[in-house]
Symmetry: C2
Subunit: 585 residues, 2 copies
């Protein structure tokens, strides 16, 4: 037997026991003829003691142990003289009488401590050492605990977890698919699922009533920070339900998770906000409600009230009021201007109004507007002396709002208003069914082509599709979209209409989604669902900056696993068998 | 609200309640001015009643309902006159006063009944209808229940479920990989995991101590009956354990599953049998112990005792005694001979000895052997009057035993000795570490290259590798390998030695498994693990003939999903982006 106990479980009540422990050498120190070794495993750290006076040979052995050696130690539990209240095992230590090196270790390329000296790339290359750090391991333990809680919650609600296939067909609509050449069907390819969307709808047609799956999904998109080519969804679908049924049930699930994991009671019910309201007040379909700084529209206040042509020509003028920032220096204000002009944000410029503590007003548009106009603006914005008004304008209202949103979040960060231990959740509803794609020069489905239009808006489908609201809902927490879903179309005719509005020929709709539309001809039930991004959900509850920190073996921004050195070239025989060639041009 | 109750929950105590149900029309029948509709959902069937006398219009509507229409019905629960004790809701019926068709249905291509008239291919094409059949759905419900039980068991045992990546590197050793071209790294490919083997070992190096994952695995092999290109493993790994620790823990898990799912108490402890014993007694490393008919070796009895050159030249002669089969006709015996001569079995011929009920003996080798010799054989085989001895011989003992195993299983089937409701489980241990591959003309790892040799046999690695036993174990039930695993090598030197015996150059070992061997240099703990085939485990506990019946959307023998029509050709743009070409030669 390699051990009688773990390194996290011995207590004062175990004093006098003969025990065997196994684990890794966290550190070794010599002190007055004694050698102390901190032995670490997943469960904790226990102090081993070697006494030069009583067993010099054993003590010499201990002195030679390097960091991260994997060892086994046998000995007697005794009460510690200088107890360590910070450690759960801090009341005891082990007087070792036998030491076995199970596996020596080279010196690790970085320290295995909560605050390591290893950079990102190095930690990923040696991820198996990085994962020894308890800060990293705890994220994965939390992830495990969340999936257990989610599964048991959904099981109690009569959901069945069904595994849907990973090798499916390619659907060029939406994001890019990862594809898999089929050796048995040369020239043909499987695709990896971007989500089990159509399959879970087929399970509803099949009468499964309540389905879920914690499922791997795949998207071959250019990777931005916090995107991984493979990610995990808590994917759910229900039959015979309306929007409120879905929202209520999954709100309950989220409430349970926040309570169990963080001890936080979410309000009951959660706030619901329409997409239009969220855009108007926060310039985002995933507003961060941990702080105010809501948008104030300033068209009436500015338009025609001065000689500033930028504002006079704008279709939208709006601002936020940053409390206590009137003393921002020229340099700080320039930084903000540079920020909003970055291509990722895309604004043309930034207007500020300082409401100084002494009641005076100073603005970048002083020369265009009278003090009265600026005072009226500050009043509309509810500004107090000491505040700073930051104002953007533009020809497209929503695009300008999105720019202003970036600025709001930046100011939130600067003012320390985005506390990771505060959780503000809400539902966003009434999304537009379609959105215009500049790239494709056509309407695209905001969610996906199976989303049910709001029944009240169906008459608008032909003439004003852009005005049609979707029966769709997103679960948003702290400015992050954690989950989202919709009621689905279960009527073949309406589904065909959707494809028509999306510019599909009937042939293309048939080729790509014929199996689903055919299934709807056999008594499809009304159904709805949603999916949570597990990686995001874990990182929010763990208070992480990046989803990578809750993934065991993540890929870098080039889609590479630097530890495995994947992807890599194949052997020629593999390509021959698959009947494909690399096209080097 | 679409329903107040499901179709499975109303009881006599609900009489008088106003309810709303939703579901599918199972069948409709008219009887004396009344129309009865069986309404079905996942939870059961409830009888709806329409009365021509009280509401002719509604009754007419009901008469027009087709099979599998999805409907909603509102009405009053009343006690049934002719109760149906076979149905849980058989005491009540619903007097309907409102009927809504949610979704009409075409006539299904096969009947949605336990015994359907649909063939395999048709059922797969319309899998969403096939899944409406409760016999199919119940298998998936069982699968869900098993995964919940497994996860909670392992969670209680401090295992952490860790998701390992699906996009990894290709390792040409072992079965063929499915590969995924990388658009961001042109000319390079990911591979889908055949199992998370190396990744779970890295998690042990990372100190995770106890890992599990219910993981999708992928093998691009030619499909035989009951093989799927993607399948699911319950994959586990533990640190600081020996073989018995692993066996004991997972035996407990299996005991729990058999008890919870089937109410069966497995013996404690389960039998353990060495690989050599299993081969000698049953000709299989996964013996079916539901019945006897053990092999009896007959070398001493036959060799040199007669003029039959086949036996005189054989290196192995063995037989089984089929009880009560002495009256087999010539035709039946010819069938058995044809069976063993099939290429899948591969024997040259079959020798029989009939021990007739009257005590006389009749054999296909009468002319070569005296009655005394045949009598001695029957005695050795413990045959009784009425029994039939079936005997095979060959030059390679184990190959002949495998042939005899096929015959034994056939006779077990014929005699009804392989009852699906009887479960005989055991562990097979002491596998050979290597096996000879005729195809590759070299030694291959029986399990995989990371399996620990039996320490007693390490000195044999150079001179007699074929004699080295592995620290490996399989969990076998009813002749099916349900799970298997091994102790792993955690020493770089020993791992390098293994690769050497397997014929890897150091360069190739480094290229393919360098990341693992490098990891072992940083204090790798002793570790061991195993994996259960979930599809097989479910099908055994569900009493199924094929794993397909417990998979929601299985593929056919050509690796095709006939419902999705996958795999399929890609659009030229997709191939261009991936920089690959179809090689039509």
């Amino acid at each position: 037997m390699y051990r009688t106990n773990t390194c996290g479980e011995l207590r004062i009540s175990d004093v006098g026991k003969k025990v065997t422990l196994a684990g890794w050498v966290q550190r070794t120190r010599k002190m007055g003829g004694m050698t102390f070794v901190d032995l670490r495993d997943r469960y904790g750290i226990t102090q081993l003691v070697f006494n030069e006076a009583t067993d010099k040979e054993l003590c010499d052995q201990a002195n030679k142990l390097g960091r991260e050696y994997c060892i086994q130690a046998k000995g007697l539990v005794q009460e510690r003289q200088s107890k360590n209240a910070k450690m759960e095992t801090g009341d005891i230590e082990i007087i070792v009488d036998e030491l076995n090196i199970l596996s020596p270790s080279l010196t690790p390329p970085f320290t295995i401590e909560d605050h390591t000296d290893g950079g990102d790339e190095l930690r990923m290359k040696y991820r198996y050492l990085d994962l020894r750090r308890s800060v990293v391991r705890r994220n994965l333990e939390l992830r495990h605990r969340m999936t257990i809680l989610i599964r048991n919650f959904l099981d109690n609600q009569k959901f069945i977890e069904v595994e849907t296939p990973v090798l499916i067909g390619s659907t060029p609509e939406g994001a890019r698919d990862f594809v898999v050449p089929s050796r048995m069907n040369p020239g043909q390819f499987y695709a990896l699922p971007q989500s089990p969307q159509t399959l879970k709808q087929l399970l509803m047609v099949a009468g499964f009533d309540r389905y879920f799956q914690i499922a791997k999904c795949f998207r071959d998109e250019d990777l931005r920070a916090d995107r991984q080519p493979e990610f995990t969804q808590v994917d759910c679908e229900m039959s015979f339900v309306d929007q409120d049924d879905v929202i209520n049930l999954f709100e309950e699930m989220c409430r349970m998770l926040f309570k169990e994991i963080r001890g936080v009671d979410l309000p009951k019910p959660l706030q619901q906000m329409t997409w239009h309201e969220a855009m108007r007040r926060f310039g985002s379909d995933k507003p961060d409600l941990r702080f105010g700084m809501e948008f104030v529209e300033l068209m009436d206040e500015f338009k025609g009230k001065g000689e500033f042509s930028v504002f006079n020509e704008a279709n939208y003028i709006g601002g936020i009021c940053a409390p206590g920032c009137a003393d921002y220096s020229r340099k700080q204000l320039n930084e903000l201007t540079d920020f909003v002009k970055r291509p990722q944000v895309g604004a043309q410029g930034l207007v500020y109004i300082k409401y100084n503590a002494d009641g005076t007003i100073k603005s970048s548009v002083d020369k265009f507007y009278s003090q009265e106009v600026l005072q009226a603006v500050l009043k509309k914005m509810n500004a107090k002396p000491g505040d700073l008004a930051l104002i953007l304008s533009g020809s497209n209202a929503n695009k300008t709002r999105v720019q202003l949103c970036s600025l709001r979040l930046l100011m939130g960060d600067r003012l320390g208003l985005r506390d990771k231990n505060v959780f503000k959740c809400l539902w966003i509803i009434d999304f537009p069914l379609f959105e215009w794609s500049d790239e494709e020069q056509r309407l695209m489905a905001t969610h996906h082509p199976f989303t049910m239009p709001n029944p009240d808006d169906i008459p608008l489908l032909d003439a004003h599709p852009e005005q049609v609201r979707a029966k769709a809902y997103d679960f948003v927490c702290n400015g992050i979209e954690v989950g989202g879903g919709s009621l689905r179309i279960h009527d073949t005719k309406l589904q065909e209409k959707m494809f028509e509005v999306l510019g599909f020929t009937p042939e293309r709709a048939e080729a790509q989604f014929g199996f689903l539309m055919n299934a709807f001809k056999y008594g499809a039930p009304p159904h709805a669902g949603l999916a949570f991004g597990l990686d995001r959900f874990v990182s929010i509850l763990a208070g992480l900056d990046s989803i990578r920190d809750c993934i065991a073996f993540p890929k870098n921004n080039n889609g590479r696993d630097v530890m495995l050195d994947a992807p890599s070239a194949l052997e020629p025989k593999q390509l021959e068998e698959l009947k494909i060639k690399i096209d080097k041009e």
